[in-house]
Amino acid sequence: MKTVLLVEDNEDDILLTKLACERSGIPHRLDIVTDGYAAVDYLTRTGIYADCTHHFLPDLIFLDVKLPKRSGMEVLEWIRGRPKLANIPIIMLTNSSDPADIHQAYKLGVTSYLLKTADAEEFKNAVRLILKYWILLNMAQTSDLQYSFAN
């Protein structure tokens, strides 16, 4: 099963994303870390993740911009600088529509930039579309090469 890593510190946003993912009807595993350092630990299997039994890299990362300890941009830059992790699609899922943030994210190698919506129903639909695209349609290097447009 494909794994999505959510890097998010806001409890409400975590809950909303978790529920939207569960209700998407698209099978996946959702792992959650709540700050930039924890994201690095998770991706390198160090710290509290050293004994983690789940050894696969995530197939997709949802990354918030504003995070404690290490910002989303720093985490993005760190990931893209590591050859083993560099090919994982990273989706910035954020409240920031600041063009400077958007530009910087793309320059640092973000795969896609998405704005969170305050409307819960709209957010749920958006998450379903996002998961459908990234889990069922788009080919990713880390995944099994399951396809397709058949549905």
């Binding site: 560099a86 090919n87 699609p89 529509s97 063009p99 958007i102 530009h103 793309y106 320059k107 190698g109 795969t111 896609s112 930039y113 998405l114 704005l115 958006a126 579309l129 996002i130 459908k132 695209y133 349609l137 788009n138 080919m139 990713a140 290097q141 090469l145 396809y147 397709s148 447009f149 058949a150």
Partner: protein
């Protein structure tokens, strides 16, 4: 806002099928076509007739085939990522989903990788995926004044 799509594809059949599919799923953005890799580079750099940005606007989205005459798709992608200015969204549309191609494409900075369906009828599903995700959900980088023309025609 109308967002030009640049389709880089040498197979006229696939050009037709995708354009037809995009229209059928309701994409109204203008689609420009580059028939080989060199033409794609000329278009993006604004060389020759492509210097006229009114007629050939810089695309917000590039749909890039991998196997192209003259300059291969991955070379085009590499060139795009080396340019200063506004980053372009580049989606690879490939006939095959070979792992090495996928890895190379992401390594060079592709935003997405879709496998072209073998059946003509499925092109609309691919077009819908492009519309629903890349043209609806995704926030593209804004054009930065004076920095948008790689290779510089301004």
């Amino acid at each position: 806002m109308k967002n030009t799509i640049l389709q880089v594809e040498d197979d006229p059949n696939d050009v037709f099928l995708l354009q037809y599919a995009l229209i059928k799923v309701g994409v109204n953005d203008p689609v420009q076509v580059a028939g080989d890799g060199q033409e794609a580079l000329d278009y993006l750099a604004g060389v020759g007739k492509f210097a006229d940005r009114k007629a050939y606007p810089l695309p917000g989205l590039v749909l890039l085939d991998l196997k192209l005459p003259y300059v291969m798709g991955l070379e085009v992608l590499k060139w795009i990522r080396q340019q200063p200015g506004t980053p372009r969204i580049v989606i690879i549309l490939s006939a095959s989903g070979q792992k090495t191609d996928i890895a190379a494409a992401y390594h060079l900075g592709a935003n997405g990788f879709l496998v072209k369906p073998a059946e003509a009828g499925k092109f609309q599903d691919m077009a819908k995926a492009i519309k629903d995700y890349w043209l609806t959900q995704n926030i593209p980088p804004a054009e930065v004044a004076g920095a948008g023309a790689p290779g510089g025609s301004r």
